[in-house]
């Protein structure tokens, strides 16, 4: 687990809201090795989601360097970053963010439309991803016909289907009951341990953090400690 997957070096992020400038991250430095499962915790406004967005290439730092899988993503243009995200990172959101007009398999297939795979190959990959999350029998169901836990599994399958090495999850269990949340976290744990995915989750829930290999605490835009 020594080879770095994510390297964040001296990163600062400043948001401008009208005339006001808000510095959310202050010279933050962090390394996440390949195959790690990291939980980011901290109070609201501490910069957890901002850090996650930067690692996932959804946003760019105001200053500093971010390297993921050996590539400096802070230097990529908007189009290059979109292309990089499509092939290198999977996202899981608190509210699943599935497309309501598509079935479970349609949702999972969506990222594969950006690849050159044939229709048959795409369907095969989708079937595998749904199998991994235990929802093969729900492939034809639309999101409104699924429970919250099932929706989140579909979202995880969507994040996995392109076989990215990095999964970033923003409060993936924030909208679920304890039992379902544990099932989802257990699934993430399997993906980390058995499939070697590097996972970074943001959570407020200490129990959720227990599923991670380590927990990092942020406060006021700075990393407080690194607990094994």
């Amino acid at each position: 687990m020594s080879e770095p997957m994510v390297q964040v070096h001296d990163v600062t992020k400043v948001y401008e809201r009208g005339k006001q400038k808000i510095e959310v991250l202050h010279g933050l430095t962090l390394d996440i090795p390949k195959g790690d499962f990291v939980a980011l915790m901290g109070p609201s406004g501490s910069g957890k989601t901002t850090l996650l967005n930067l690692i996932g290439g959804l946003d760019k730092p105001t200053s500093g360097e971010i390297t993921v899988g050996g590539r400096r993503i802070d230097q990529l243009g908007s189009g290059q970053l979109a292309n990089w995200r499509a092939h290198n990172v999977g996202f899981v959101f608190q509210f699943y963010n599935l497309m309501p007009v598509l079935t479970a398999e349609g949702n999972v297939e969506l990222p594969l439309l950006l690849t050159k795979l044939s229709g048959a190959q795409r369907r095969k990959n989708v079937a595998v991803a749904l199998e991994v999350v235990g929802l093969a029998d729900r492939a034809k169901h639309k999101p409104r016909e699924l429970s919250g836990g099932q929706e989140q599994r579909v979202a995880i399958a969507r994040a996995l289907v392109s076989d990215p090495q990095l999964l970033v999850c923003d409060e993936p269990t924030g909208d679920l009951d304890r039992k379902t949340a544990d099932e989802i976290l257990g699934l993430l744990q399997v993906l980390n341990r058995e499939h070697g995915k590097t996972i970074v989750i943001v959570t407020h829930d200490p129990k959720a953090a227990e599923f991670a290999r380590r927990t990092l605490h942020l406060e006021k835009g700075q990393l407080l400690e690194q607990a094994a």
Partner: protein, 386 residues
Amino acid sequence: MTRTGFVVANLFRKRTRTILTLLSVIMAFLLFGLLQSVNTVFSSGADFVGATRLFVQARVSFTTPLPLSMVPKLEAVPGVVRVAYQQWFGGVWQTNTPLIMFALDPQRYHDVYPEWKMPEAQWQAFEQTRTGLIVGRQLANQYGWKLGHKIPISSNIWPQKNGSKAWEFDLVGIFDGKDEDWQKRTNLAFIQQDYFEEANQFGLKGRTNFFILKLAPGANAEAVSKTVDAMFENSPDETKTQTEKDFNISFVKQIGDIGLIVRWILFAVFFTLLLVVGNTMAQSVRERIPELAVLKTLGFSDGAVSGFVLAEAFALVLAGGLIGLALASLAGAMVEKGTGGQFLLKLDASVWLLGVLAIVLMSLAVGLLPALRARRLEIVDALAGR
């Protein structure tokens, strides 16, 4: 699933809204197709091919009467075998039902229009009865008129010498058409020119609205037309000679500048459509800002996401436009059949081409702003609901 499938699925996310919007696009393009083909008919040039009759009217307007003294001159033109003439009567049945009614010379008209079928005895009765009236089968059936009835008809133009606009005629004949097409035109009524001249208060004598020239078989209609117009050039009664079809069209053109009217109606229709579809697209994008942000998160570029939105607008307008134009073709064919080929409301290639151009322009007009909004979307802000 394909990108096209995704676009179609998004289009029907609010089924009722999409169907209603689609209906408005269909209606707009149905109108576009019909009006544009009307415009094509009215702006088309003279077509003398296959003409067996020509209409001669005053160059200024057919409402300006021409002298009947022109008849022998017209009959002397090579290619002309017989000349008839008609004077608009402006007949009104009961309170305000207008009739297509003319005063004419019975024998001449009978010679020029063999397509009307009526027993010879009735033609003779028409010729011999000064107050005689003959009507088409449709008209007789519609108002229950029978031979021997006295038919009171008023004229909105011509009062009698006693000042009354109420005239009374003796129904002496009912004519049919020679075939189905002509049967559809039996909504006409004719009275005697002699009686009309004698009884009208304004003393309009020896003049008529237009002449009808019956051509010899194989006669060159265009050459006859040019000869006639040249003959009366620089005279007090300059003429305009055209085919029956063009005359009918110019009759409708009296209403006004048809092309301008059509353009204004279409402008109003498309402007309304722009607002309706534009609002639908804008609302549709507004409702799914987070979804568009997720697409970007998954790796779809700004261009791809705005492309999805534009494709939706295009698909909506294309589907509605093509259905509307197809319906207009169908309606045009029905109108053509219903009028016995007198009104050729055909959607030709130029109308279809204009329709497709309108589809493309309309798609861009309604899709461009929502597409730009989708393009400019910042993922982080959109996901956070800002």
